[in-house]
């Protein structure tokens, strides 16, 4: 909305005031995250500005540390498996939820979104007792199952949103032309909802990749993930290695975010919702 040429001085002041305010808020959103990137190149042992010099020593430290590299490996294994499992389960149930009404649908939908809403400490402590009892605590499988439970709401929400814009008559058209339901799914439905499925998958990945509270309770040292190791680091060994890890994780986040945004826009373009 451009400023009207006939705007009064007061309106002009408001116009600029709001823009300045918004710019400040946006800077406030991004800058506090970004400050950690330059400091990861510090040559000092403390996480304070100004930096005495520039070096790569903390990245070297990261890659030469067994604990850090193990936790990086764990993070990718756990987040990868979580993504596969959560995407499969979440996509199926999103299709089911949009297909027809069935008894208790409201409650079931409510339950599926619950992991996102229930305070994470409650989820983590509950899973911790249950997994300790079943022998899943301190295993990779336990971490994957717990993270999948946390990640599925995001898949369900994104895929459901995509499906709402999907014209179901196409399925009927496909079926009336003699295609099997499976063929219809892969040839008609999936290509159209794929952007939603992929962004759901990315959400699932990032949920697991960033998760720390569940890891705090159920991960043993063999299952430490990057955030879990960072948590220990902030408490135990507060040095710029943490900043180096954070910087790398921000790069991953930005890459994922940009992919999701591109997918979303492609999806909207396909469905002709561009404003």
């Amino acid at each position: 909305m451009a400023l009207n040429v006939y705007a009064s001085p007061l309106e002009k002041i408001w116009y600029y005031l709001i823009r300045v305010f918004c710019v400040l808020v946006l800077i406030g959103l991004v800058l506090p995250i970004m400050v950690i990137i330059p400091i990861s190149f510090t040559s000092d042992t403390m996480l304070t500005y100004p930096m005495p010099g520039v070096s790569l020593r903390w990245f070297k430290e990261f890659f030469s540390s067994v604990m850090w590299t193990l936790s990086m490996k764990n993070s990718f294994i756990i987040a990868g498996a979580t993504t596969a499992l959560a995407t499969a389960l979440g996509t199926l149930s999103a299709i089911g939820l949009t297909m027809a009404n069935f008894p208790f649908k409201g409650i079931i939908t409510g339950i599926m979104i619950m992991p996102m809403v229930v305070p994470i400490v409650i989820t983590a402590v509950g899973i911790y007792f249950f997994f300790a009892w079943t022998g899943l605590a301190g295993t990779h499988l336990g971490m994957i199952l717990a993270h999948t439970a946390l990640a599925t709401p995001f898949v369900v929400i994104t895929v459901t949103a995509t499906l709402q814009g999907f014209n179901r008559n196409q399925i009927r058209a496909g079926a009336s032309l003699g295609a099997s339901p499976g063929r219809v799914f892969f040839k008609v439905t999936l290509p159209q909802i794929l952007p939603g499925v992929i962004s759901g998958a990315l959400f699932a990945f990032v949920t697991s990749f960033d998760e720390v509270v569940v890891a705090l309770f159920i991960a043993g040292s063999e299952q430490y993930t990057l955030p879990r190791q960072m948590f220990a680091g902030i408490r135990e060994k507060y040095n710029p290695t943490i900043a180096a890890v954070a910087a790398m994780m921000i790069v991953v986040s930005v890459a994922l975010l940009v992919s999701v945004e591109l997918l979303r826009r492609r999806n909207e373009r396909l469905r002709g919702i561009t404003q």
């Binding site: 995250i33 400091i39 500005y49 299709i95 305070p119 409650i122 599925t152 720390v212 902030i234 975010l257």
Partner: protein, 417 residues
């Protein structure tokens, strides 16, 4: 329609209505079948664990397991006068056995929740009872002789309460209440009352954070909704970035920004605005700043999605009819954005009351919310009943808000960018 189909239907003698209903039912079953895997997955990895956790808030297994005879004998006790000889004899038997099994500490710990000092009483009595060489004439006199506290009703009523299969002790404690020796619910003394205050603090801090998010987020959402799509999409990435970066990364960043020799203090001292560095972290201020930052995207997104659909022509109409732009904005635009405001506020509030990591790493002891105490009781004092009692409180508040959210706004309208 193909004539052969018609023939087939006629042969089966089914009306179109019945066939439709059948197809519909088949579709319903198929839909439910597709939802089932995730439902059962969440049932086992999420719902059941949480229900089991909540069960611990009323579960009362220690005394029944460690002191079964006493637990049974004391059921018949009316609480008016001291228990009879059989109860004392059962106590002696149980303590002797428990000491042998090394479980007496468990019973002592449970009883100590109710009355401080009970643990030592149980341990000492167990030791003395085990040392007895001969059967005494009266266990009652003997045990009261060991420690006169066994002659007080207060202690026995605590044993009786702890010997029942279920207890309301933890949930009452979470509300700063307890039962006195007569079984009446009373407030705990002021120097032990904490959790109502923490609950209130949790709700209060979340409210402040929600308001901060609304104040900061509303103009931004408005701007994003009114700018051309190309620009607003770009800015949207800035809004979403905090949402996509790890909570831990953000928290670590805020420590760097806010600490004594951090960036803010550095700037303030350079500009001569302060003589000494300000305390910005490990206090309430730091927690508010960090939480607002983390939750702001959850406010902006619902606001934006509602505002995008508000047509600018209403505002134009109001202004052209002579309304002051500010008044027009307040009377015309804001009411239309109310659904977005309520969705954003509820979402932020629900998420805020469950926060743990941020206050734990950035706050001081006066800034800890309920989640912290749940983790504290789970990890540090291993009082799992108490952890569950507080979890009931927190989960109750969350579910209440979630139901409101679901009823008025609908979770299916939630968008993740």
């Amino acid at each position: 329609m193909n004539p052969s189909y018609q023939k087939l239907d006629a042969a089966e003698g089914l009306s179109l209505k019945v066939r439709l209903r059948r197809a519909e039912r088949k579709r319903k079953i198929k839909a439910a079948g597709l939802v089932a895997p995730l439902f059962f997955f969440l049932l086992t990895t999420f719902i059941i664990p949480i229900l089991m956790l909540l069960y611990r808030a009323i579960d009362n297994p220690e005394i029944m397991a460690v002191m079964p005879r006493t637990a049974q004998a004391i059921q018949k006790w009316d609480g008016a006068a001291l228990p009879d000889e059989p109860v004392f004899a059962a106590l002696a038997d149980d303590l002797r056995q428990a000491r042998k099994d090394r479980t007496v500490g468990m019973a002592g710990k449970r009883l100590n929740y109710d009355i401080t000092g009970f643990r030592t009483l149980v341990l000492n009595t167990a030791r003395k009872v085990s040392r007895m060489k001969t059967e005494p004439a009266s266990y009652r006199e003997k045990i009261i002789g060991m420690d006169k506290r066994w002659g007080e009703l207060l202690y026995w009523s605590a044993v009786k309460r702890a010997a029942a299969p279920f207890t309301d002790f933890y949930i009452l404690s979470a509300l700063d209440l307890k039962r006195d020796s007569g079984g009446h619910i009373v407030r705990v003394p002021a120097e032990r009352a904490l959790y109502l205050k923490v609950l209130f603090r949790t709700l209060w801090m979340s409210l402040i954070v929600t308001l901060c998010c609304l104040i900061l987020g509303y103009p931004v959402a408005w701007l994003l909704a009114t700018l051309p799509v190309r620009i607003s999409n770009l800015l949207m990435i800035l809004v979403l970035l905090p949402f996509w970066t790890s909570l831990l990364v953000r928290t670590a960043s805020w420590i760097i920004v806010l600490q004594k020799e951090g960036i803010i203090n550095e700037i303030l001292t350079r500009l001569n605005l302060t003589s000494a560095p300000l305390q910005l972290v490990f206090n309430r201020f730091g927690v508010y700043v960090a939480m607002t930052h983390i939750l702001l995207p959850f406010m902006i997104l619902p606001l934006y999605s509602v505002m995008k659909n508000i047509s600018p022509s209403y505002m134009r109409a109001a202004v052209s009819l002579g309304a002051n732009p500010v008044v027009a904005f307040w009377k015309v635009y804001v009411p239309q954005s109310l659904p977005g405001i309520s969705a954003g506020c509820l979402l932020v509030y629900i998420l805020a009351i469950g926060y743990y990591i941020t206050p734990a790493l950035i706050g001081g002891p006066k800034d800890q919310m309920l989640s912290y105490f749940i983790a504290f009781f789970t990890n540090n004092t291993i009082n799992w009943g108490m952890a569950s009692g507080l979890a009931v409180l927190l989960l109750g508040a969350t579910i209440l808000l979630y139901t409101v959210f679901n009823r008025f706004i609908g979770i299916d309208r939630l968008r993740m960018g």
